[in-house]
Amino acid sequence: MNMAPGAFVAERPRAPTRKAEARGDLPRADLVRIEAVSKVFPAGRGGSEVRALDGIDLSARRGSATAIIGRSGAGKSTLIRLINGLEKPTAGHVHVDGVDVAQLGERELRDIRRSIGMIFQHFNLLSSRTVFGNVALPLEIAGISRHEINARVGPLLDLVGLADKRDRYPSELSGGQKQRVGIARALATRPKLLLSDEATSALDPETTQSVLSLLRKINRELDLTILLITHEMEVVKQIADQVAVIDSGRIVERGGVFEIFSAPVHETTKALLSGLPGFRLPAVLATHLKHDPSAGSRAIVRVTFAGQGGQGRIFSKIAEVAGSDHEVIAGALDEIGGKPFGSFLVSVASPKAGQTVDKLAAGGLDAEVLGHVS
């Protein structure tokens, strides 16, 4: 959501796309609504039963990109599989476009699944089929004619930038290319909803970027609702507008991405955010960090800057408050959901820490003392 170019086209009449209508006065119904869902896996031999999901409420608006983030084992894979009925909840409702998927039989589920695309961490392409054949598979399954399949696959390969790989086999492609095939395949039946199961977790950072920007493009241009699970905040930051944090089968925090990033409340959220640059304390400091100040120690203060204009002034503001004594240790300025966002680690003399935090807060900057280093 880049706001700057938008300012120039604001007065131009917009084409009446579905998205524009949805943005207007029409009610933006939720495409996915999960209510009070629990999932208990029965005890295996010698084990005890596993409560994978515990009273989950979650919804995704039409056209939104919603991320569910959590550590491995938090229940996110189970949660995303409830939406296309690959898993059945033990209790609760899973509405997709007004239909309670949890109540459907296998045969009815098959029809619903054809309107939900899914992409996977390990791509799951058939090694025996070419790129074309893989993208054609869901269409064959849906009983679409050869002629129609030929007409549809080409534009999809163009969309994901693999038109020249049409007759290649997956073993001849790179990871990023394989995931692009996966995306084209997921879009083949023109679904309303795209589920992404850790789609970038097996890719290197650069490829992750390009796959994420493809997903973002699809989200905006095709007005496709995306629901993704991930364990990386970086992915959430890149693509989502809503985020839910899941821990031990419960949603512990949720809201707009910008709000969650700028003011995380739950410990799990904070822990997941700590991986991002500017959040992470350099290892040398982390090992020496003490809770209480000592003689001559310096306080480590995290200053977060969210949303306000003129991000350049953050440094002068810190300097103004902390005086010439302060030191910037680490920091990053970024854009989240189209809004500027920054996080900095600053050190000041321990006795001045409290007063610095207060003054920064008065100046509209969020600051907290992480500890003291002697």
């Binding site: 098959r110 799951n124 598979l137 399954i141 589920l195």
Partner: protein
């Protein structure tokens, strides 16, 4: 070696090929679906039927653990029922086929179990029916493995077919025993062995080549 003997060898080779071909075809037609069922009928699988799976698995194991020569004798009444006689090439096809079915089934089962379960989940997520999953995913992906399984089956059948000579089944094995061993004609024995080696070699390399062509997992070049 006299022309008569050469003619005998050619005729015996023809009988062997006949027995092997018929047993391999019928054995595959029944064995492949059985293998697919064994691979997909466990608890929580595509065609979950744990009871039937266990029963069929036990039958397959029982057939496979019976020595072939004992199987041949044990099912003589059944052979007579099917082929009308218990001696000769056509009669030999019956025990050969019975032995082939579980052999093919187990090999196909293991070829299918090699397939990443993620692919089955992916097909389910696309709305595929169980039969579509079998056709478009399992059999398609296991094609190189199944090709190798059938190659191995044919090679084993060539060996088994030599054993049915003992019950008057005809074929190269029969010729080798009656002329080579009992009439003490080492040149016939050697000729029979050479023909068998060439046959097995030809089948194996054709099967390997076909399997390699089907296998797209390895980067070509």
């Amino acid at each position: 070696m006299s022309p008569d003997i050469i003619l005998l060898i050619a005729k015996a080779a023809g009988q062997t090929l006949h027995m092997v071909a018929v047993a391999a075809i019928i054995g595959s037609v029944i064995g492949i679906p059985l293998g697919v069922f064994l691979a997909t009928s466990g608890r929580g699988e595509l065609f979950a039927a744990p009871g039937a799976n266990r029963v069929l698995g036990a039958v397959v194991n029982a057939t496979r653990s019976t020595p072939f020569i004992i199987l041949v004798v044990a099912i003589i009444p059944f052979t007579r029922l099917v082929a009308g006689t218990s001696i000769g090439t056509n009669a030999a096809i019956v025990p050969l086929t019975i032995a082939t079915i579980p052999f093919v089934a187990r090999l196909v089962e293991s070829a299918i179990r090699e397939i990443d379960p993620g692919l089955i989940e992916t097909a389910r997520a696309m709305g595929a029916s169980p039969l579509q999953i079998v056709w478009k995913v399992l059999l398609a992906e296991a094609r190189p493995g199944i090709t190798l399984a059938l190659t191995l089956t044919v090679v084993s059948l060539i060996g088994y077919s030599a054993m049915v000579g003992a019950v008057g089944g005809g074929g190269l094995g029969d010729l080798g025993i009656r002329y080579g061993y009992q009439r003490f004609m080492p040149d016939v024995m050697a000729a029979v062995v050479v023909v068998l080696i060439v046959l097995v070699q030809a089948v194996q390399s054709a099967g390997d080549r076909l399997a390699r062509r089907f296998d797209k997992r390895i980067r070509p070049r």
